[in-house]
């Protein structure tokens, strides 16, 4: 089986045209790979570029140089140069993402937000809702909230909706941006368990976890992102 994710010599900088075109390098020479069933945790201090790497992997940030190779349905796709419709196709079937914050869509219920990724892949809505309900109860989201849009939920409740949405599919690669940041101990344990299940199923996971306890419980390997700092190579 092909390695799900290979990142090779990726570099990223921002040019801020509104600040007289200041060029701010973020990371350089990022190279790593993630095997099926492995959880790689990005480590290093704040501002070192951990989130930027995740956003490049998901296609939200452009890439200046290098390759991001993903095994998508048996074909190799370079996400760094892929067409928008290819990126969307990869996101639908191969690449999942649990962001730190939920982007709330007005009027859509929590249950449907969670069910959507399955429905988008062709599962009938009712069946997708059944899976969504299972996951939401596992994450201890009170049943009376399922029918409501999460706009008015607490941080922890929104986060759980977000986690359920990210974990519901069987994407081969899953990106996790601090999924446990606003959760209590009981729900953190549920997320650790969900991650273990994904690993057992052969999902490749890349995550950022500031909570040491969670990190120690899920990480197979910690990748120190400060090694990719462009400032260090420049000095």
């Amino acid at each position: 089986m092909a390695t799900p994710l290979v990142v090779s010599e990726v570099a990223k900088s921002f040019t801020m045209h509104l600040r007289d075109g200041v060029r701010r390098p973020v990371v350089a020479n990022v190279s790593f790979s993630v095997k099926a069933g492995e959880c790689v945790v990005l480590g290093g201090p704040s501002g070192v570029g951990k989130s930027s790497i995740l956003k490049m992997l998901y296609g939200n940030y452009g890439v200046d140089e290098g390759q991001i190779l993903m095994d998508h349905d048996g074909k190799l796709v370079n996400l760094a140069t892929a067409e928008p419709r290819t990126v969307l196709e990869v996101r639908r079937t191969t690449l999942g993402y649990v962001s730190q914050f939920l982007r709330v869509v007005p009027r859509v219920s929590s249950l449907d937000i969670v069910a959507e990724p399955l429905h988008a892949r062709g599962m009938p809505l009712e069946e997708a809702r059944t899976h969504a309900a299972e996951l939401l109860s596992k994450l201890n989201l009170p049943r009376e909230l399922w029918g409501l849009p999460p706009a008015t939920f607490s941080g922890g409740e929104q986060q759980r909706v977000n986690i359920a949405r990210g974990f519901i599919t069987d994407h081969k690669i899953l990106l996790l941006d601090e999924p446990t940041a606003s959760l209590d101990a009981k729900n953190r344990a549920v997320v650790v368990e969900l991650i273990a299940e994904k690993k057992a199923k052969g999902t490749a996971l890349i995550g950022i976890f500031h909570d040491e306890e969670v990190r120690d419980a899920v990480a197979d390997r910690i990748l120190d992102v400060s090694a990719f700092s462009p400032r260090k190579t420049a000095a």
Binding site: F14, T15, M16, H17, L18, K55, Y58, G59, N60, Y61, G62, P84, R85, V87, L88, E89, R103, V105, P106, R107, V108, A120
Partner: protein, 258 residues
Amino acid sequence: MSTLPLLKVNDVSKFYGSRIGCRNVSFELYAGEVLAIVGESGSGKTTLLSCLSTRLMPTSGIVEYHMRDGQYRDLARMGEAERRFLMRTDWGFVHQNPADGLRMTVSAGANVGERLMAVGDRHYGNIRATASDWLQRVEIGVDRIDDQPRAFSGGMRQRLQIARNLVTSPRLVFMDEPTGGLDVSVQARLLDLVRGLVHDLGLAAIIVTHDLAVARLLSHRMMVMKDGAVIEQGLTDRVLDDPREPYTQLLVSSILQV
């Protein structure tokens, strides 16, 4: 994933005398894709949309459409009757002002039914049944089917316009500031509705908007226009999260946070 684009736009320009409407625009649109065209007033968004939808003839360049029979047709070379048939059946056009897209003095049911008759439906009962089904889908009470849109609120009119456009199962829908004059709660409802319909029907859509939040919610891809030219394009998330061009950075940084 279909392999052939629905619409092929090659180097389209439109000049008004010596003034530039839009220039050198090229892109391809695939079935199921929603493309947002953003930019400030006067940047050429609506001119481009008009050129694509044959409401205006481009000064130069070619727009080709993948017909249901599998052939590509150059829109500029189509006859007027054929073009009008395409607009009434395979395409939809949602105007910013619903009064431009609706017939204000006939009933809501007739507004929807008219498009069905254009594709050859003649059975009154079927037409009325389909019309009432579509009114429900856009959340207009069936008891309003015999009312004229003049008696509707702005949000209802816009939803009726959408029903009128989608009833013939078009493959491509053009929208010009569809949430333009609506207040935010009505906007949210309309956005949710459009999002659902686009997904369920597998539509391709081109949406002109100056509202980046609308573009984020509805579109897969985005083109940013300035002074008639496309200055940046790509995946909507990428353009909004990592804007490259000075003007796009200015646009994104000008969004008010709530």
